[in-house]
Amino acid sequence: MSILQYNGGAVIAMKGLNCVGICSDLRLGLQQQTVAMNFKKVFQITDKLYVGLTGLATDVLSLEHLLNFRCKLYKLKENREISPKAFGAMLSSLLYEKRFGPWFSEPVVCGLDANNNAFLSGMDLIGAPVFSDDFTVAGTCTQNLHGMCEALYRPNMDPEELFEVLSQCLLSAVDRDALSGWGAVVHIITPEGTITRTLKCRQD
């Protein structure tokens, strides 16, 4: 089994009309055995910037720690919050620093910049970024997630519709993957604020 599939997990980020959404499942496992059902993989960096980290759980936590530290330092130096684009670039170079002994994690960056324009970016484990206009997925069941998002996505959804589509995509896709599931958490980021909901799904 690949090292990126040791702990399992799935993350989707999707763009809507003046909003973005990001969601992840809640399972933490050791290959086949499930160890925790409350392991969130999406972390808040600023009010309007979230990052989802899939892959090896220890690297997910280490990277989250490192990113929080770097963003706080950025805020002290520049006296403003980091923008999603700059954050993406920083994460990309952090991952590439470890090119020959990488962080085993594939992140998804999702946020609204200062003008409330959406920013979505996915990366591989050594930092190569892809900027999307519609959705980005990462995790152990990327094929399932891609299929679902491709089928259900439409442009310019409002926050409620975005929530429904994100939830259906994630839940249906992880139900076909043994290593992901056990509930989901969805964040919808709008200019007015963020709405977070936790979903219960098939507990197997």
């Binding site: 891609h146 299929g147 491709e150 249906s172």
Partner: protein, 237 residues
């Protein structure tokens, strides 16, 4: 005491039908009088790609397959059918190795003709399902590289879909997907036809809705899967 020569290599270059590969040294012991034999091998299977989808309704069944046949990263044909009309009530859809599928189809057609002439009736879908299962298991130790599905109307006129693995174990379902686009399409059908993770009321599926679901499913798979594309052949029973 005799000293044996120890070959200092990191990996052995081995030729296979996919090209040169390196046999890792951990699998091989080369020093001493006992050495692990290694051999050039011919891989009898090839994956020709493609996706097939089958859906069963209350009084209809749909079998669909994309028409692309590929090997590796190359396209061999844009117009190769994956569906076999066994009778006017049963269609067999198979993805995998095209040569194995062709032989399997011919075997089934021959057995079908024998059945029809001996028992003087059209083979029912359930009987065809059992026949396919037995045919596949016959080759348990050198399987047909064919991932099959049967779509048809059962004895009561209700739609039926049977899904198989490569050695013949089968089960009746309401829908199924096989092939390279399986992971992309399966959760989509779970959501729409299986009505999973949904709280609204389940409605009866009509033929038009099912056809439009099949078309959407193939668009999804074509966008993201390199082995699926060109055109889609849909058989409605």
């Amino acid at each position: 005491m005799m000293q044996y020569n120890q070959q200092k290599v990191n990996a052995l270059p081995i030729w296979t039908s996919e090209g040169n590969v390196d046999l890792p040294l951990s699998d091989v012991s080369l020093d001493g009088p006992i050495t692990t034999p290694y051999e050039r091998r011919f891989n009898p299977y090839d994956f020709n790609g493609g996706t097939t989808v089958c859906i069963a309704g209350n009084d209809f069944a749909i079998a669909a397959g994309c028409t692309r046949m590929s090997t590796g990263y190359q396209i061999l044909s844009r117009n190769q059918s994956k569906l076999l009309n066994l009778s006017n009530k049963t269609v067999i859809a198979a993805a995998g190795c095209q040569s194995d599928i062709t032989v399997l189809n011919k075997t089934l057609q021959a057995r079908y003709l024998q059945y029809e002439s001996q028992s003087q009736k059209i083979m029912s879908t359930e009987a065809a399902a059992q026949l396919l299962s037995v045919t596949l298991y016959y080759r348990r130790f050198f399987p047909y590289y064919a991932f099959c599905m049967i779509a048809g109307l059962d004895e009561n006129g209700v739609g039926a879909v049977f899904g198989y693995d490569a050695v013949g174990s089968f089960k009746r379902d309401q829908y199924g997907v096989m092939g390279s686009g399986q992971n992309f399409i399966m959760p989509f059908l779970d959501n729409l036809i299986g009505h999973k993770n949904r709280l609204d009321e389940k409605k009866v599926l009509t033929v038009e809705e099912a056809i439009s679901i099949v078309k959407t499913a193939f668009i999804v798979a074509t966008e993201r899967d390199i082995h699926t594309g060109d055109s889609v052949e849909i058989n409605i029973i």
